[in-house]
């Protein structure tokens, strides 16, 4: 223990009244103090990486007057000796809601009914979740308890905003000292805050993530319009506020790594840049996060290990959750190493008290101390453009600093004082005078000598007398008002001693075992243990910490390294060409992601040569209608048209069903919006490039599509008796929706072309594309009347309906479909699940095919999609289609329907190398995909899959053993839980964006996945 002498005790609140607000009347005698203090002999950490010994810090009026070495100390300054102590800038939390009122809803949603409009009264935006007009400084109320909690962690200031809504308005910079709001608000409007969450808004729109994204984009356009001509047409407080916030930094809250990528795209589109509040999983997609060039705010709420003592319960914990437990603490360090600037926040911590503990865990896992300090001081200040007033101990900045007993991240370091705007707060008093440090001493009591060991645990010492190797005598110890007293038992007799001590010795008087008044003395003999050795041991321990691999995607069956295209020669296979050659025995060469040669006895050099004798090789299956790999909502069914939303914005690369689809020979899919409204959302057309990001999965140059829907879903017929408000409720109304929207879109197009000012409307833009045949429609449909109707609507408005999906009564009007030029994408044999499918027949596909309609079979189902080859075979079973024709229904025909047949859908030289090797005739239930290639990259291999299973087993076991170890070592655990796997269908309409409490009354166990 280093001897510490501090000649004063700082009162809990040392000073009040600095910068007292001048407008307030004074009651009593005016007590102005200028607060001129000099802190001398300190180890001063002016900013991360700028440390000086024997330095002086001088503050006055709550500001820093001077800081450094060899600077003059004003004579009239109150002097504090900081010998042996460290001074750092106080921390800043960038993502706080300190002092903000609890968010409340503007009203309530009508009982069991959709809420179409905002409940907010006043000249605000139509959507309740867009609240740019909220200003934190106007709502801020200082909160003594909350401020103290943060101060105790070393924080001196926070950026605070109300965590509610998609646009949350502006934040303020406030300090955590005492004083009226007038004093503690350091800056009124600092940043604009946004999120993909509508918070307390009860309004139905948006219910999905893609709706959120569309709403943000539309708001940008509306604001642009408002700034120009809109303001002359209407008063809109929200849009005005939105424009006022434009020049400020924008902070965007995200809930996972993919949301960062999604929001970064919006920022780019509108020439903006966001600072992202991350969720702590950024390490899972580090490169892509870095490529956004965005700074981050990172939580350090690392998960606790799972309690895996029950083998059955432990089985339910997902591998990704287990891996994240292990790797989450590496996130800050990984970000720093990647050169991504980031700040740290206490947000997300269940107990804020864990902040320093978790920060040290992050440091143990690779975060440098310098980066840690920067993330709490200079970086937040700089990101929020307030580095001239806070963040370091430079002259003129606010006097926010902490005093510690040793370097802050050293073992046993404590924050003893936190000075905020010149107010000193004592978190923990320094020991008034140090006593014996760690070591072995000789205690001489009268004539008897004892071996006394002193050890320090945190702030309290432990004194033990070693009689011999086996016997320890505990010594009672007290040290107060500079008097040390010791007492212990020696063979049943109490020895009581009092006296004085310094760091290495003590002496005094007392009673010996016999009750004689004697003198005693403590002298040092040797050090306890070599400290260096101890540290080395610790270092060693650290380096032995084994960590699992980061895999892409961060799921079971993910890959350590993304697979790349290789030249692959598949020899002696039965090739289902889907071309006029039909089924042939030949070789096929894949190079540069394309099919480069087909023929017998190909003699080409290749990275991989596969003898596929007896195997069947086909082009990859294309699922025209899928809802896998979609994040947070498949429907934006809150309005009868949601043409502005797009599944392409919410493709989820982290869905294990992508891999499962590959194992069924599926290489591409149209990820469709649901069928809750007549005009749905735009599609995401993807290849199943497992491990790649959503943007890399989207097929470049694919024709744009949109989902329409007819019938019971859009009429809300099966949503219960409460859904009778939203238009349309009948098939008659459905026609009106289309006629009305296309009429409006036509007028919109006219206005747009006229050159007159107009408000860019994303919904109308999309519909205009349809009218101009630049975007194609795939329409959920069942009964013949509505199918016929929509073809007539399309004909009236001058476009062709591209695809009818489901189209279960297509067989009744196959002739009309053929005449119109529409294709069909149907189920093989589904029926009887609702009234509009009572006339569905499994012969539908065969009849449509016979009638010359391009017909595909789709899944609409995460499970069935990996068996689409079997669904195709049902074309043979029901209706006796030829095997080749049946096979085309899941390959070439969907490619044609998606306008992708120029590069996909058949084995043809020059087409994409999306190829599957099957164990036998692919239409057979016994056929298994053995290898699946997408763009020439092998994404599935049955043999490798077996290896992966083994790796998963080993990895789970390793993690479970490690968790058991942590539990034994006393770590707090969390109960096992399962990851929820969403399986969307067309009619999934849950609100995924709000925070309204709609308690689940449904028992969800893994018996019932949905």
């Amino acid at each position: 223990m280093k001897k510490i002498i501090l000649s004063f005790i700082i009162a809990t609140i040392f000073l009040v009244g600095l910068n007292a607000q001048k407008t307030f009347p004074q009651n009593g005698v005016f007590d102005y103090r200028e607060g001129l203090y000099a802190f001398v002999n300190a180890t001063l950490h002016k900013a991360p990486g700028q440390t000086m010994e024997n330095a002086t810090l001088i503050i006055k009026d709550g500001k820093i007057m001077n800081a450094g070495t060899g600077i003059p100390v004003p004579k009239d300054a109150v002097l504090y000796d900081m010998d042996g102590k460290h001074i750092y800038p106080s921390f800043i939390d960038m993502y706080s809601n300190y002092g903000m009122p609890e968010p409340v809803s503007a009203g309530s949603r009508p009982d069991k009914q959709p809420q179409m409009l905002s409940n907010r009264q006043g000249a605000y935006m139509w959507n309740e979740a867009i609240k740019p007009e909220f200003q934190a400084h106007k709502a801020f109320k200082a909160n003594v308890q909350a401020a103290e909690e943060m101060r105790n962690l070393g924080f001196g200031a926070v950026f605070t905003h109300q965590h509610d809504g998609i646009s949350r308005g502006s934040s303020s910079l406030v300090h955590l000292g005492n004083g009226r709001e007038h004093e503690v608000i350091l800056k009124d409007r600092v940043a604009h805050h946004m999120a993909f969450s509508k918070g307390k808004s009860t309004q139905s729109y948006p219910s999905s993530l893609m709706g959120c994204i569309a709403l943000i984009r539309q708001t940008y356009y509306d604001a642009q319009w408002y700034a120009k001509e809109g303001k002359n047409e209407e008063m809109n407080i929200s849009l005005e506020a939105w424009n006022d916030l434009k020049a400020l930094p924008h902070v965007f809250d995200t809930r996972d790594k993919l949301e960062i990528l999604r929001a970064a795209k919006i920022a780019k589109e509108f020439n903006s840049q966001y600072i992202f509040k991350g969720s702590g999983d950024e390490y899972m997609r580090l490169d892509k996060i870095k490529a956004t060039n965005s700074p981050l705010i990172i939580p350090i709420n690392f998960p606790a290990p799972y309690d895996v003592s029950d083998a059955f319960d432990a089985m339910q914990v997902s591998l990704s959750d287990m891996k994240n437990w292990e790797l989450a603490p590496t996130n800050p360090g990984a970000l720093a190493k990647a050169g991504i600037p980031f700040a740290l926040t206490t947000h997300g911590l269940k107990s804020k008290g864990d902040f320093m503990k978790n920060l040290k865990i992050a440091i143990e896992h690779g975060l440098s101390e310098k980066d840690a300090l920067a993330a709490l001081t200079t970086i937040p200040a700089k990101l929020m453009k307030v580095e001239n007033i806070i963040g370091s101990l430079d002259k003129g900045k606010i006097a926010n600093f902490i005093v510690t007993n040793k370097a802050i991240f050293e073992d046993g370091a404590k924050i003893h004082q936190n000075w905020i705007a010149g107010q000193g707060f004592v978190l923990k008093a320094f020991p008034e005078e140090a006593d014996l440090g760690e070591g072995v001493y000789r205690l001489k009591v009268g004539k008897k000598n004892y071996d006394m060991h002193v050890t320090w645990d945190e702030d309290s010492p432990k004194y033990i007398i070693k009689e011999n190797d086996s016997t320890d005598i505990k010594v009672k110890y007290n040290f107060k008002d500079k008097i040390i007293s010791l007492s212990f038992n020696d063979e049943g007799n109490l020895i009581r001693l009092s006296g004085t001590a310094d760091n290495t010795s003590a002496k005094g008087q007392g009673y010996d075992a016999e009750g004689n008044w004697i003198s005693w003395k403590v002298t040092p003999t040797r050090a306890l243990v070599d400290k260096k050795e101890k540290e080395e041991e610790k270092e060693k321990e650290k380096s032995e910490k084994e960590l699992g691999d980061i895999v892409y995607p961060f799921l079971p069956y993910g890959a350590k390294e993304l697979p790349k295209a290789k030249t692959t020669l598949i020899k002696n296979a039965t090739l289902w060409t889907n071309e006029k050659e039909g089924i042939i025995e030949a070789d096929i060469l894949l190079s540069n992601g394309k099919i480069s040669q087909i023929g017998k006895g190909l003699n080409a050099s290749a990275d991989i040569v596969i003898d596929a004798k007896g195997k069947h090789v086909t082009s990859g299956i294309i699922d025209e209608h899928s809802h896998i790999a979609i994040s947070k909502g498949v429907n934006e069914g809150t309005q009868y048209s949601s043409a502005e939303v797009s599944i392409a914005d919410v493709v989820n690369s982290e869905d294990v069903n992508i891999y499962r689809n590959l194992s069924g020979g599926v290489t591409a899919a149209q990820l469709l919006h649901g069928s809750a409204n007549p005009i749905g959302g735009q599609s995401g057309i993807v290849k199943f490039k497992w491990g790649y990001t959503p943007d890399e999965m989207l097929i470049k140059g694919a024709a744009p599509f949109i989902k329409f829907a007819l019938g019971e879903n859009v009429k809300q017929s099966n949503w219960g008796d409460d859904y009778t408000i939203r238009f349309p409720q009948t098939r008659m109304g459905v026609e009106e929706v289309y006629d009305d929207h296309f009429t409006r879109a036509k007028e919109y197009g006219k206005l747009k072309r006229s050159g007159k000012p107009y408000r860019k409307d994303l919904e109308m833009e999309t519909l205009l594309q349809i009218l101009e045949s630049k975007r194609f429609v795939t329409c959920h449909s069942y009964v013949q009347s509505e199918i016929n109707m929509l073809m007539k609507v399309a004909e009236r408005h001058g476009f062709t309906l591209n695809t009818f999906t489901h189209i279960l009564e297509g067989y009744k009007i196959a002739d009309k479909m053929k005449a119109h030029g529409a294709g069909g994408s149907t189920f093989s044999d589904w029926w009887a699940y609702k009234f509009e499918v009572i006339d569905a027949i499994p012969f539908n596909a065969a009849i449509l095919d016979k009638m010359g309609v391009v017909v595909a079979l789709n899944s609409d189902d995460a499970e069935m999609s990996r068996r689409l080859n079997q669904e195709a075979a049902k074309g043979v079973m029901y209706g006796g289609m030829s095997e080749e024709a049946a096979w085309k229904m899941v390959t070439l025909n969907p490619a044609i329907l998606l306008h992708l047949d120029d590069k996909m859908g058949s084995l043809k030289i020059g087409k994409d190398a999306d190829v599957v090797i099957w164990s036998e005739n692919p239409l057979s239930i016994y056929a298994q995909a053995e290898m699946t290639f997408v763009d020439g990259i092998k994404f599935f291999d049955k043999e490798e899959d077996l290896k992966k299973r083994e790796e998963i087993k080993i990895e789970r076991n390793r993690l479970i053993q490690k968790m058991v170890g942590e539990k034994k070592a006393g770590a707090k655990t969390q109960a096992p839980s399962m990851k929820y796997q969403t399986h969307y269908h067309c009619d999934h309409i849950d609100d995924e964006m709000g925070e309204q409490e709609h308690k689940h009354d449904h028992d969800h166990n893994h018996d019932h996945e949905d």
Partner: protein, 434 residues
């Protein structure tokens, strides 16, 4: 003319057109003989070149064709050369006849209100005129166990024939079992806007206790010699305690399977597990306790993200290898048309072909306690028979040509074929309606 022959191939020329006709009443008076087909007996065996005779609804003889002589003039002869013969399939745990259109409430008759409903009987709601039934029958299902849903105890199931004039006529085994939905071990927390993780069900112990209380009370009630006030719920439970009814417990998680089995053992009952997705993890336990499984669909996604991607496909083989009796099954009503493919999928993943057939025939019969009369092609059992061209488990080749329930030929036409014919006639195109 009377002549005795060795049954040899090509004796009679069989053509498709005759195959599709229903035998006339007069012809029906004679016993039927099916010759030369491959008979899959349902018990794991097959006879390549077989002869099967039946009369009065019962199988008279089944044997290899070359082992004896018969007088063919006393039979109506069906030549099944190149074809496969199976016992009629049994669809377990279905709502056939209890629902016509899933989304139309007025057509749903399988879920009653209440927690403990053992007295509710599926039987009487069985709609023999359902338009759905023939579409399943034409894919080989001849018997079905119809089961009420919902609550803790949903009610009583019955085994029904897939044809009949009314439910009395169609019943095969009435009120054969009680269905218990075991409490979930894990439940989803949070609410749907912010889906929480799926965590342990905190009410689990309480829910199990409620089952225990109910069973204890029911057991005690059924010991009464003099019942003053009749409790229909408890009366319905009587068969469980005297062994005349089966107890079906729906649960999937390994731990709850074990807990529910040990729980019911206390009452001297060996339950049948319905669902059993995780049964493959505890085969030793299942074998030790002689638990039979009605396995939920094999063409399903794995339960857990990290599970083997083909876990559901290969579970049947694991159970078979461990010597556990299981049947295939599928949820719902119209979906049962794909029951056979649950077995086909399992064959693709290693299950022996005949074992797969067993899982559609004799094993469900054993589970239902009807194995003495149904489930396999054996002398004395019901002549409930399917004749198929091609591999019945593979949609690529499967065509069912003929079927009999208790010796009566079944109409394999259905509403869907009729609709198809109507429109192909309109267009003047031709497709295959087999």
């Amino acid at each position: 003319m009377r002549h005795t022959i060795f049954i040899i191939i090509n004796l009679l020329v069989w053509n498709i057109s005759t195959a599709q006709q229903t035998l006339t009443k007069k012809q029906n008076d004679l016993p039927i003989i099916i010759m030369n087909g491959t008979a899959h007996l349902g018990n794991g065996d097959k006879i390549e070149n077989s002869v099967i005779t039946f009369e009065n609804g019962k199988i008279g003889m089944i044997a290899p064709a070359n082992t004896f002589k018969l007088d063919l003039s006393k039979f109506q002869v069906i030549d099944a050369k190149g074809k496969d013969i199976y016992p009629g399939f049994i669809a377990m745990n279905t709502q056939i006849g209890l629902v016509e259109v899933d989304a139309v409430r007025s057509t749903r008759d399988f879920r009653e209100v209440g927690t403990f409903n053992p007295s509710v009987r599926a039987l009487i709601a069985y709609n023999t005129d359902s338009k759905v039934t023939p579409t399943i029958r034409s894919n080989g299902v001849m018997l079905t166990q119809i089961v009420p849903q919902g609550g803790r105890i949903s009610g009583q199931s019955s085994v029904m024939k897939m044809s009949g004039w009314n439910w009395e006529d169609a019943q095969y085994k009435a009120d054969e079992g009680i269905h218990l939905n075991w409490p979930a071990a894990f439940r989803r927390g949070g609410w749907w806007a912010a889906p929480g993780p799926i965590t342990k069900n905190k009410d689990y112990d309480e829910q199990v206790k409620a089952i225990k209380d109910f069973l204890d009370e029911a057991q005690a009630y059924n010991e009464k010699t003099n019942v003053e006030k009749v409790n229909l719920k408890f009366e319905a439970m009587k068969g469980l305690f005297d062994g005349t009814k089966k107890l079906y417990i729906e649960t999937n998680f390994a731990k709850t399977i074990m807990e529910s089995v040990l729980f019911t053992k206390e009452y001297g009952i060996t339950p049948i597990i319905v669902g059993g997705k995780d049964a493959w993890q505890i085969t030793d336990f299942l074998k030790e306790h002689k638990v039979m499984i009605v396995l939920k669909k094999t063409q399903d996604l794995p339960v857990r993200e990290y599970d083997d991607i083909d876990q559901t496909f290969k579970t049947p083989k694991i159970l078979k290898d461990a010597g556990i009796v299981f049947s295939f099954s599928l949820d719902g009503a119209w979906e049962q048309r794909n029951l056979v493919f649950q077995a086909g999928q399992a064959v693709s993943y290693g299950l022996d072909y005949e074992a797969a057939i067993e899982g559609l025939t004799l094993s469900p019969a054993k589970i239902l306690g009807i194995e003495n009369t149904a489930g396999s092609l054996e002398k004395g059992k019901d002549a409930t028979i399917i004749i198929a061209k091609g591999d019945i488990l593979d949609m690529r080749t499967c065509i069912i040509e003929k079927a009999f329930i208790e010796g009566q030929e079944v109409d394999l036409d259905n509403k869907q074929k009729a609709l198809s014919r109507k429109f192909t006639d309109k267009y003047g195109v031709d497709i295959d309606h087999d």
